[in-house]
């Protein structure tokens, strides 16, 4: 065991939410459950009355449900990027971030997968998608790719959770309830920290690391092609796939900053989720933001130059017409201002970065809404513009989806350490914080797990 006092402090801090249940946490979970329940009630109303309970009509056929769908699929890119790409490149600073970024991906994808089901006119026929699915349809590509991505993220999250589950089983197994102990035991798969076990996890983890990046990119491409394979103004664009993928990187990174700030504050993890992490994520945010800005610029420049078909009316409504306020708020507040604030050294402070990350995600949600609704309200034939106002059913369900996202994270935080203990231990000696006074008991290479009366190798 690494008897370093700083290590001890780390363990204590990270295990605190797992071993103790604070009142704040309970209140939060109750509130989230209430909000989620509200969503179920609203959905019940929708099933009874049909989609007439929403604000959608024959012109604007998709509304906030599909906006949420695209938004959550965007947020999900976070974990993939941090866990996979940063692991691949051997960036040591990713270590504290991997656990909750993978968790973000899983939570976001779960909400993302629910949204189209909520939007269906005949949810009783969900099974048709499996039995009668047609490979030519972008929706079926979605049905294939999103569960694949979700499963991949779950497996990825799980693989690196195994040592932590064993740790929890051994360290706090007697402090928690029996079902929980059984859970840890089961998930630990008899982990003893043996080299062979390490190797198996490494092999699987490496394979997944390589696989999950294209799966992630494929998910966003496929989501974009729901729109990109139609003829509508604003959707009929060839760059939609990379556009959405980059947007996902941008909004995913922002969500990571948001969550990182929250965990840091609430669980006093300042020493592990340091200013350096914020700076690095901010740099990534700026990079992705600039790239996303470039795609936005390229898209609107070509459309504005040609003014083909209905594009002129659409651009009019977007930039100076009925959607102008939302579009400019989303653009300036969600794309320009965050980049500036995150890039300038004197605004790159932790609280400001937190605010910036919220701005980004609000802006990205607005952006998703702006992609879905205005192109649908543009008249296809000589009749008037479609009008869309979400109803209380849609609003409640949207709130419930965010609540569900937070709920998954909150429950996970209770069950497992939010910073991967095993991963931190791996890189403990590479940390740039100076070692404390207490001497190490063992040389760094050997990493036996703490045993509770078990045989040692």
């Amino acid at each position: 065991m690494n008897a370093d006092a700083s290590w001890q402090q780390f363990e204590d801090r990270v295990l605190a939410p797992v071993t103790t249940t604070s009142r704040t946490w309970l209140l939060l979970v109750v509130a989230l459950l209430v909000l989620t329940a509200g969503g179920f009630v609203a959905y019940g109303v929708q099933v009874y009355r049909g989609l007439a309970a929403t604000g959608m009509g024959d012109t604007v056929i998709w509304g906030v449900y599909i906006s949420n769908f695209v938004f959550f699929s965007g947020v999900s890119m976070a974990g993939t990027f941090i866990s996979a790409i940063l692991r691949l490149t051997g960036a040591e600073w990713r270590r504290p971030l991997t656990r909750f970024s993978e968790l973000t991906t899983v939570a976001a994808l779960s909400m993302c997968a629910i949204m189209p089901a909520v939007d269906m006119g005949r949810p009783d026929r969900l099974w048709h998608l499996i039995v009668y699915g047609r490979l030519e349809s972008p929706l079926v590509w979605d049905i294939m790719v999103i569960p694949t991505y979700l499963t991949a993220s779950l497996i990825y999250l799980y693989l690196f959770l195994i040592p932590d589950a064993a740790y929890l089983r051994d360290r706090i197994g007697d402090q928690v309830s029996k079902p929980r102990r059984k859970l840890y035991s089961f998930l630990a798969m008899g982990w003893q920290g043996l080299p062979e076990q390490h190797r198996k996890i490494q092999v699987a983890g490496t394979v997944m690391m390589f696989m999950i990046i294209p799966i992630g990119v494929a998910t966003h491409s496929v989501v974009s092609w729901i729109f990109g394979m139609t003829y509508r103004s604003g959707w009929n664009s060839t760059i939609f796939a990379p556009y959405f993928a980059v947007g996902a990187l941008y909004s995913g990174t922002a969500m990571l900053i948001t969550l990182m700030y929250i965990f840091r504050r609430v669980y006093h993890l300042e020493e592990y989720l340091t200013a350096r992490h914020f700076r690095y994520l901010a740099t990534l945010l700026v990079a992705f933001g600039v790239l996303y800005l470039y795609f936005t610029f390229a898209e609107y420049l070509t459309v504005t130059y040609k003014l083909q078909g209905g594009d002129d009316k659409l651009l009019d409504e977007l930039f100076v017409g009925r959607y102008a306020a939302l579009v400019w708020i989303g653009f300036v507040g969600g794309q320009v201002l965050p980049i500036v604030l995150a890039a300038l050294p004197w605004t790159r402070t932790i609280p400001i970065l937190f605010a910036v990350s919220i701005l980004v995600n609000v802006g990205m949600w607005i952006k998703r809404f702006m992609i879905v609704v205005p192109s649908l309200s543009l008249p296809l034939m000589p009749y008037g513009w479609g009008v869309y106002t979400p109803t209380w059913v849609e609003i409640l369900i949207t709130i419930a989806s965010f609540a569900g996202f937070a709920l998954i994270i909150a429950i996970f935080v209770k069950l497992f350490p939010i910073i991967s203990i095993s991963e931190m231990e791996e890189g403990w000696d590479h940390r740039e914080t100076p070692p404390t006074a207490a001497a190490r008991v063992q040389p760094p290479q050997v990493q036996p797990e703490p045993q509770l009366g078990g045989a040692t190798s």
Binding site: R49, I61, M120, R134, I226, T230
Partner: protein, 299 residues
Amino acid sequence: MAEKISRRRLIGGIGAATALGVAGAGPLAALALPEEKAAPAAKSGPSRQWAMVIDLRKCEGCVTTEKAPQCVEACNAEHFVPKGQEWIQVFEVEGESGHKHFFPRLCMQCENAPCTKVCPVGATYHNDEGVVLVNHDRCIGCRMCMAACPYGVRRFNWGEPENPAGAALANYSPEFPVPHRKGTVEKCMLCAHRARDGKLPACAAGCPMFALYFGDLNEDIATNGKEVVQLRRFLDENQAYRLKEELGTRPRVWYIPGHGQEYGHTVDLDKEPKTPRSWQEQGSTLNNPHPRSEGSGTK
């Protein structure tokens, strides 16, 4: 010993995974089946490829008859179309000179239809005669087809649609989709059920100006109920065009350019078009035959 067991198990595990994959590929291959064609009804007679031609020189929105557009009312009555969801619509289009003309629009029955491509469950498909149909037993209400249609012809049953009393007893078929179902997409299906019986579509039969021609591309013939023309010559000689031709959807509905001039619809004629009535207001075709048909209609 431990090594041998683990290797054996590894091989066994891989074998199991492969078997699972192969077994899974079976039903999953069903995913890849091409779009389902309707089981062709036993029919005699020539094979048809239906098309429609709308002669805008003859269409004046029924304003000179002082009625609502009769094609819309005929279709509403024939299919008990829910109010506000008309399958054929007549638009009043204003030209450069301020002169208005009328433009009926129904489903284009595209040969390269975007809607049939994007349907995830194959609920919308082409039948053997080129008509795009919707199977309301299959439709899951995702509305992807509505997003893909560049002409906006598809309508959705957002709530429970109103069906006439006898509708529940009606023999549902995609060619005659009654009763209408909540949460599914519907649209004009070129009266495939009437074509089966050798009759003109309801809109063409109902037009008092004989502006709608219904024809067969195979036999190269069309009729509006009064005259019979050679379809392709008719199209060529009258500069017929299709909507949004540049999209490459290859619609089966042609328009002959015009402004109702055959019925004196000039700049001076300033009559307002009336709103078409729903089937509830006008009654079904069984009670109110079409303006030009003899006796009561039968389906």
